[in-house]
């Protein structure tokens, strides 16, 4: 059974199950990951099958979860920790930034810290405050961390496997409003490397770059643009640190135009980094300035306003129009 249709949530669950099954050093830790199976059920059934020693319910203490995971990694384990929601990662931010990210360099390579920090992130599910944020840039900015986000079930399955095999700490952002989106998962074909961007739609007039929850929006935008006679290429970045600039560059040098789309605030966001680097790399190929579509520089708004805040089809198409108008 090589290919199977499943949701992103199920793909993550299968991926974690596979890891627990094949590597006795893999541990899962977090609040409610055991009996409950996590608030999004990503770890559903795993404690039942692998026991409380492998799938560990923790005290309600995010710094403690990451800090003890670091200690377990120093002892030779490979912990996957779950942060329940994006906005709750900040109590653990100190451990992630000052310890997890830097310990390898400080030890001149003697220490490896194969810790995966899973963070369900992003809005669009009508949640209360601190449950809808996109803090990926805050982690991508920190050297020593790798930051990734899948956008579909196949990537969810494989990128989790790859993150678990990496000897570097990986911050694994899961697009929570896509958890229930289904797609084909091919569990046998050798996957694309973890930090490689993938062209998910070919086009010749303009490049849209997105990751995680916004890939679907961009694909819809590209389909809508086609009806207006515009050929839009869509790149799924998959990795926010490092970023596959070569792939973006190649696409931009083909299309001449670039729009970067993400949910996180535009200000100091990953779009700014991509715009700056691509401007340096491909200045003479650009037909228009690189444009960005994203969240505003405001606290994530109450759920009744999130449709206005989140970049939707119209805002992406508007940016496409603006770029093509140059």
């Amino acid at each position: 059974m090589a290919a199977e249709k499943m949701s992103i949530a199920k793909a993550l669950n299968e991926s974690l199950r596979h890891a627990l099954d094949t590597d006795p050093k893999v541990l899962i830790m977090g609040e409610d990951v055991g009996k409950l199976g996590g608030v999004f059920r990503i770890t559903d059934g795993l404690q039942k099958d692998f026991g409380e020693g492998r799938v560990i319910d923790t005290p309600l203490a995010e710094s403690g979860i990451v800090g003890t995971a670091i200690g377990l990694a120093l002892r030779g384990y490979r912990p996957v920790v779950e942060i329940q929601f994006d906005g709750f990662v900040f109590p653990a931010y100190d451990q992630i930034v000052t310890q997890l990210a830097k310990m390898r360099a400080r030890s001149l390579g003697k220490i490896k810290l194969p810790v995966v920090v899973r963070i369900p992130y992003g809005g669009g599910i009508g949640a209360v405050e601190h449950h809808s944020e996109s803090p990926e840039s805050l982690f991508a900015h920190v050297s020593g961390l790798k930051v990734v986000s899948p956008s579909n079930a196949h990537d969810a399955y494989w990128m989790m496997q790859q993150a678990l095999q990496s000897d570097d700490p990986v911050i694994f952002f899961e697009p929570k409003r896509r958890y229930w989106d289904k797609g084909e998962v091919d569990t046998e074909t050798i996957p694309v490397p973890l930090h490689r961007a993938v062209t998910v739609r070919e086009g010749s007039d303009l490049t849209l770059v997105a990751y995680g929850p916004m890939v679907k929006v961009c694909l819809e935008a590209a389909a809508a643009a086609e009806e207006e006679g515009r050929s839009v290429e869509v790149l799924d970045l998959r990795s926010m640190s490092p970023i596959d600039f070569d792939a973006i560059q190649a696409s931009v040098e083909k299309t001449g135009r670039l729009v970067v789309v993400h949910e996180a605030p535009v200000f100091y966001g990953s779009g700014a980094e991509i715009a700056a680097r691509i401007t340096e790399r491909s200045f003479y190929h650009l037909e228009a300035p690189v444009l960005r579509v994203g969240g505003y520089h405001v606290p994530y708004p109450p759920a009744r306003l999130e449709d206005e805040y989140l970049p939707g089809l119209d805002r992406v198409l508007d940016a496409v129009d603006r770029s093509l108008a140059y």
Binding site: S63, T68, Q95, G144, K146
Partner: protein
């Protein structure tokens, strides 16, 4: 198991019956310390902690303390001479560190702060390697795995969680080694230390929390961190806390050994509060005369950990003049060796900053390294 363990202690009447002293009393009072050697150099017995050391072992502890102090004073001098950017002196804390450090087995694992030079000595870490961080040539300088001595940790309290996680791993592996987390009185105010206590307690981790209460967190006194004696914190987490005379190397050794045995036998964590005093500055950057009285230091000098053991050794005739003279010479040789080694310590190659950031490499680091190489090369070409 112990009289000093908080679970076994009766509430102290003074703090509950005298309303006016509610904020002050716990600070000004000093609960009975576990002590085996008085400041006057007299051996005393304790009902729960005993120790029987040969004269040779006692001389060994004395030697450790003297050499550690000599190393420390050399490092302070090197900072004053501009050879180190900063130094965190352990002056006054030799007994706490040597006593606890010598209680450890080789297979135990230590998570230090940035002041555990005496513990590092006990672990066999080359003292010179401790100075790289303070000289600014590296952020670590030793392989943690080769001595089971983790890198120094500068963010206060972070390492208590690493120690706890490591201890959870030890327990999973089914070993009987134990883990020690060192931290200071100031660190007990940090959330991470509280979380480490929680995790260690609920998972029954084989970890000893060794708090060196040196009375000051830079300029903030312990009274600014707590209303209750620190060792009593353990009670709320469900494991024993012990206060030991941190200037008594024998008591520190005995209490740490007992706590380690407790961890090894599956009884979980212990909090040891070594009641001691930082005789110098927090680091070479601060000036303790601005925040504490001279009399306070003078009072603590009378409890000097090294002097009291010397008095005992001399009284018992466990060490003769030849021993002290030879140690003095060894001490000077250590200082000289450290001085020469530090001055000879090369700056790292500029390219080194791009090394070891990632185990699996990173295209971003590769790109910036290439830019840096090209930039450096441009100078060479101009020069030629």
């Amino acid at each position: 198991m112990t009289v000093e363990s908080t679970a076994a202690r009766k509430p102290r009447r003074s703090s509950s019956s005298r309303r006016t002293s509610a904020a002050k009393a716990p600070q000004s009072s000093e609960p009975q310390l576990v002590q085996l050697l008085t400041p006057e150099g007299e051996r005393v017995e304790h009902p729960d902690y005993s120790i029987d050391l040969s004269p040779e072992e006692l001389r060994g502890l004395y030697r450790d303390m003297v050499l550690t102090r000599r190393f420390d004073s050399e490092a302070t001098a090197l900072q004053r001479q501009g050879e180190l950017g900063l130094w965190a002196s352990l002056l006054g804390q030799e007994a706490a560190q040597i006593g606890s450090g010598r209680a450890l087995r080789d297979d135990d694992y230590v998570f230090p702060t940035y002041r555990e030079h005496g513990v590092a000595w006990c672990r066999g870490v080359d003292p010179t390697n401790l100075l790289g961080l303070f000289r600014g040539v590296n952020h670590g300088g030793w392989d943690p795995a080769s001595n089971n001595f983790h890198l120094y940790t500068l963010v206060i309290g972070s390492q208590t969680l690493h120690a706890t996680g490591y201890a959870m791993g030890v327990a999973k592996d089914g070993g009987d080694s134990a883990v020690v987390a060192y931290f200071g009185d100031g660190a007990t105010s940090q959330g991470d230390v509280g979380e480490a206590f929680t995790f260690a307690a609920v998972y029954n981790a084989p970890v000893v929390f060794f708090c060196q209460n040196n009375q000051w967190a830079i300029s903030e006194p312990t009274a600014r961190q707590t209303r209750v004696p620190l060792y009593q914190r353990a009670q709320g987490y469900g494991f024993p806390g012990v206060r030991v005379d941190g200037n008594d190397v024998l008591a520190c050794l005995a209490v740490t050994k007992a706590s380690l045995e407790r961890a090894r036998s599956g009884e979980g964590p212990t909090l040891v509060e070594a009641f001691t005093y930082r005789m110098g500055a927090h680091t070479t950057s601060d000036d303790p005369t601005k925040y504490r009285a001279d009399e306070e230091r003078a009072a603590w000098e009378a409890r000097d950990p090294i002097l009291r053991l010397r008095t005992y050794l001399e009284k018992q005739k466990f060490a003769d003049e030849a021993f002290f003279t030879a140690l003095e010479a060894e001490s000077e040789a250590l200082g000289k060796g450290v001085r020469e080694a530090v001055r000879a310590m090369p700056d790292p190659e500029p390219m080194a900053m791009f090394d070891h950031v990632y185990a699996d490499g990173s295209s971003l680091v590769d790109e910036e390294r290439a830019e840096f190489i090209a930039y450096q090369a441009s100078f060479v070409e101009e020069g030629n």
